[in-house]
Amino acid sequence: MTLLSFDHVSRRYSVGGSEVHALDDVSVTIDAGEFVSVIGPSGSGKSTFMNLCGCLDTPSDGRVTIDGVDVAGMGEERLSELRNERIGFVFQQFNLLARTSALDNVALPLIYSGVKRKARHIEAMRVLERVGLGEWANHHPSQLSGGQQQRVAIARALVNEPVLILADEPTGALDSHTSAEIMCLFQELNGQGISIVLVTHEQDIAAASSRKLNFRDGKVLSDERIEQTLFLEPGLEATA
């Protein structure tokens, strides 16, 4: 079943009179349950692609549809609702609220879906336990390691039961050991049926996915299915 479809999509920015084609005539479809990695050099349009996937942006040309619904026809409000209900974001810099507990950080999206405070905390706790941070619920981001912070961010992306997780270089700020743990978590989530689109510029991170989109100058240079490398359970890491 098609989750996302890009149909001759372009995204242009005008910078000082001249036009920059951040995305140039891209046609791609992503099915529900896929684990797609997006790879390419800096400035090749990866983030622009992600923003369009995540309804943070609308195309200059072409059509982006999510579950068959054209994004272009939606207003700011509807797009916000769509992001809230269906999409989880994970960022390179985690983007956690400082001086706010892990639990409250995870519960943040639920505020905007109108869930009551009590229910929010129960739900957030459940997701924190799912990423293995149940005992850290009351800690502030500054008291957590980078890997733990990214797990909190992933928990936040998960809390609304999204169909799609968009991760823009989620391991960019982490060491390789921690990166592996995070990738393992993503694979686990993908195994539970959540679609994942992951931007990276490291080939061995991209290897965690089952499909690789290679971007160059705003175009998809190649789109290939790959053999998925299984990342190890964190507990087994030491023996590997």
Binding site: S80, L108, P109, I111, Y112
Partner: protein, 410 residues
């Protein structure tokens, strides 16, 4: 997202930056405290002026011998300048609209009761004086016409004197010696408080004019029945000008002044004087409140400044909130409510502070203060309104941020 939810989010944000929040609030706190303190003191002063007006009597003229321009010089220069009891009676008889026309003289005396001794003022009056001044008797009675005519040694005692000599005890029927002349007390006067000039109006005894003149004041032999002041009260405020004109005419005629001669008396419209004073104090109060309001506006600008800083600082937070589903109006409400919360808490603290300031100053200085409840409510509402008006621009700025740009902001 409910309003309560927004308030909670706002409170959390304010708490994470506690010191800054408090410093920002300080502007509003000081502004609100200043406005309320000024209004309270102004209202107190106003109340006192109003009480003075009420105590003075209504629509009152004070007629004195001589002219105001060269008071001292003319006073000594001859019998012609004296006002008499008969002048007072003529005014009452011949000028329409005059309710009371009271001849009166006063002087300093010593009053003794038993072993108690008090220096005070004696005022010779007839009953018109009490009428003109709206002066009540709280115990006993006013003078009888017979006592006024014959100058009986009867006395009405002012509240202060009664207090000094007798305390709370009943005084009617008691004997006192005024300058060694025995008088019998027939009544106790109700309290009038301080006059506009600041002296205690209750520190006096009143006796029939005739008794004062004959026995206490050492009457001038030059003019029989001379009095120092005539108090005239008029039926309606609208008649004051007309009555003043008629009195002038009447007195000029009675004093046989030619057209080219100046008045030998002067008429002062007391009600107008206090009204002018009341107006002046009202204007002054408004001015003070206006100046204080400026500090409130400055506080508002402080709020706006800090909210703008906060919006810039939290650009990434705004981007993140938008990414996880906040609508532009959620962001607008969040920052607006933050500003309103800051201002309202500031306003409430300002109210408390002003109450403390008012209590301390009125205790230390004895200034009259009056804090109307509506002013408190108004001040808090006003500071919330400042929150809205000065918080709106930063909040709108936050709501209009592009989420992608905001997320990329370093």
């Amino acid at each position: 997202m409910s309003v309560l939810e927004s308030v909670l989010v706002a409170l959390t944000a304010l708490r994470t930056n506690l010191l800054r929040s408090m410093l920002t609030m300080l502007g509003i706190i000081i502004g609100v405290a200043a406005v309320i303190t000024m209004v309270a003191m102004g209202t107190g002063a106003q109340k006192e002026v109003d009480a003075q007006i009420a105590a003075l009597g209504t629509n009152l003229f004070m007629i004195m011998p001589g002219s105001f321009r060269d008071h001292g010089a003319r006073m000594a220069s001859g019998s012609r300048l004296k006002l008499t009891e008969d002048d007072a009676h003529a005014i009452k008889r011949e000028v329409a609209g005059v309710v009371a026309s009271a001849p009166t003289s006063r002087g300093a005396v010593q009053i003794v009761s038993g072993n108690m001794n008090w220096s005070t003022t004696v005022q010779g009056i007839d009953n018109d004086y009490l009428l003109a001044r709206n002066w009540e008797i709280v115990e006993g009675r006013v003078f009888e016409a017979r006592e006024i005519r014959s100058g009986t040694r009867a006395a009405l005692v002012g509240a202060t004197v009664a207090e000094e000599l007798f305390g709370e005890a009943s005084i009617v029927g008691q004997s006192v010696r005024i300058n060694n002349v025995p008088f019998q007390i027939v009544g106790r006067l109700g309290p009038k408080g301080q006059s506009m000039m600041g002296y205690d109006q209750d520190d006096l005894v009143m006796v029939p004019l005739e008794a004062a003149r004959g026995r206490l004041l050492g009457a001038s032999r030059a003019v029989a029945k001379a009095v120092s002041v005539i108090m005239v009260s008029v039926e309606q405020a609208s008649m004051m000008d007309e009555v003043e004109e008629q009195i002038t005419g009447l007195l000029r005629q009675r004093h046989r002044l030619r057209a080219d001669q100046e008045n030998t008396f002067s008429i002062r419209n007391m009600s107008e004087m206090v009204a002018t004073r009341a107006e002046a104090s009202r204007v002054f109060n408004m001015l003070l409140a206006a100046v204080a309001s400026v500090s409130l506006v400055v506080g508002g600008i402080g709020i706006m400044n800090i909210m703008l800083v906060s919006v810039t600082e939290r650009t990434r937070e705004i981007g993140l909130r938008r990414a996880v589903g906040a609508k532009p109006r959620d962001i607008l409400t969040q920052f607006l409510i933050e500003a309103i919360t800051l201002c309202t808490i500031g306003g409430a603290v300002g109210v408390l502070l002003s109450v403390v300031i008012i209590m301390v100053t009125s205790n230390l200085t004895g200034w009259p203060v009056e804090l109307p409840f509506q002013v408190i409510v108004l001040a808090v509402l006003f500071s919330a309104a400042i929150g809205v008006s000065f918080g709106y621009y930063p909040a709108r700025k936050a709501a209009r941020q592009d989420p992608i740009e905001a997320l990329r902001y370093e």
